[in-house]
């Protein structure tokens, strides 16, 4: 009797795990479908390959544990938002670390000279830092539109706003970024 019960339990466990495995196959499908786009956007936000891999892993880990392992209703929107949020928090963390180090050790190399003002790497890093500081509603649009290269309609669908609103937010974000880039130049 006891043996039978154990057997039933084993069968039950097997069927449950098979069902869960079957149901979570969509994670791999999502990875196949949106992986390339995600890597591109993460690379553009972070600019560091190891950070990209970490943020990517974190995104799919969160997807696997979403609301009792259920499939999100809007998969693309969920994945892109989680990925961009993860990337931004990594970027903020990186900026804070950089600031802490730069106050501790002030080197001559750290000072920005006029000749490297148009240095691409410097420009990219500055812009990344400023994007991370943007208000969330503006930052999301810039990330999806400019770094993810999605259309305004797609951005609107992901953020649950209209395409026209996305366009206005993007314009505001660029203006704000321009002001910040200008301020930095004046401060120097």
């Amino acid at each position: 009797m006891f043996g039978k019960a154990v057997n039933y339990e084993l069968i039950w466990d097997f069927t449950v795990s098979a069902a869960v495995d079957e149901s979570q196959q969509w994670i791999l499908s999502a990875m196949q479908r949106h992986g390339q786009g995600l890597v591109t956007i993460l690379w553009r936000i972070l600019g560091n390959e190891q950070d990209v891999c970490d943020a990517y892993q974190n995104t799919f880990l969160q997807l696997a544990h979403y609301k009792g392992r259920q499939k999100p209703e809007h998969m693309k929107a969920y994945i892109f938002r989680v990925a961009s949020n993860t990337a931004v928090s990594m970027l903020k963390h990186r900026a804070a670390e950089k600031k802490r180090l730069s106050t501790a050790i002030v080197t001559r190399e750290g000072a920005i000279s006029p000749e490297n003002e148009l240095d691409c790497k410097y420009l990219q890093e500055t812009l990344r830092c400023h994007i991370a500081q943007l208000p969330e509603y503006l930052r999301n649009v810039v990330m999806l539109r400019d770094l993810g290269e999605l259309s305004y309609a797609q951005v609107g669908r992901i953020l649950d706003i209209s395409a026209a609103t996305a366009r206005v937010y993007r314009c505001k974000a660029i203006q704000l970024l321009a002001v910040w880039m200008g301020k930095e130049r004046e401060e120097r």
């Binding site: 992986g35 553009r44 390959e49 891999c53 691409c120 660029i174 321009a178």
Partner: protein, 175 residues
Amino acid sequence: MSINKNKGTTLKSQNGSSNKCRRIRAWLHKAVISRFHIDAEWVQNHIANCPRCNRRFVNVAKVNLALSAIKSQPHKLDLLMRANTQAIGVLKHGLREAPKAEKLRAMLPEPKPLEKCGKYAHSTANVAACIAILLLMKIGIFSSMDTFQTQGQKAVEQYYASQLGEDLADEVFSA
């Protein structure tokens, strides 16, 4: 009946007013664009002479430059493969061992279908243009030949009719 008539007139007037509204909007847009567009002469002159506008434009250009630099920065070809491998590594056993996971571990970035077709776009456009020209030529030549033939025949018939008379001309051309 009168109600229907009224409805008809109301609809007509609504259509008329919406058309008018559309026309006015188009006219306004055109007027605004011609006066306040970035390429308008007075705007260009102002930007050239106003230091504040200069600064603003420089800053916006800097943002655009940085965005372009970020977009054009290449990454290693195997980044997607490595990211997939790392992400699959933390998923549960059933997913890690799935055949799809194997494929994902070896996945390389592929250009979008539009980008793939992009290199053929120029030659496709050329071929399409050639076909269109050929078709137009063919249609045009044949139709003009037909017209020329019928017009010529009519002229000759008329000449014969005037010179020999209707009966003889009919006999000649009906044979």
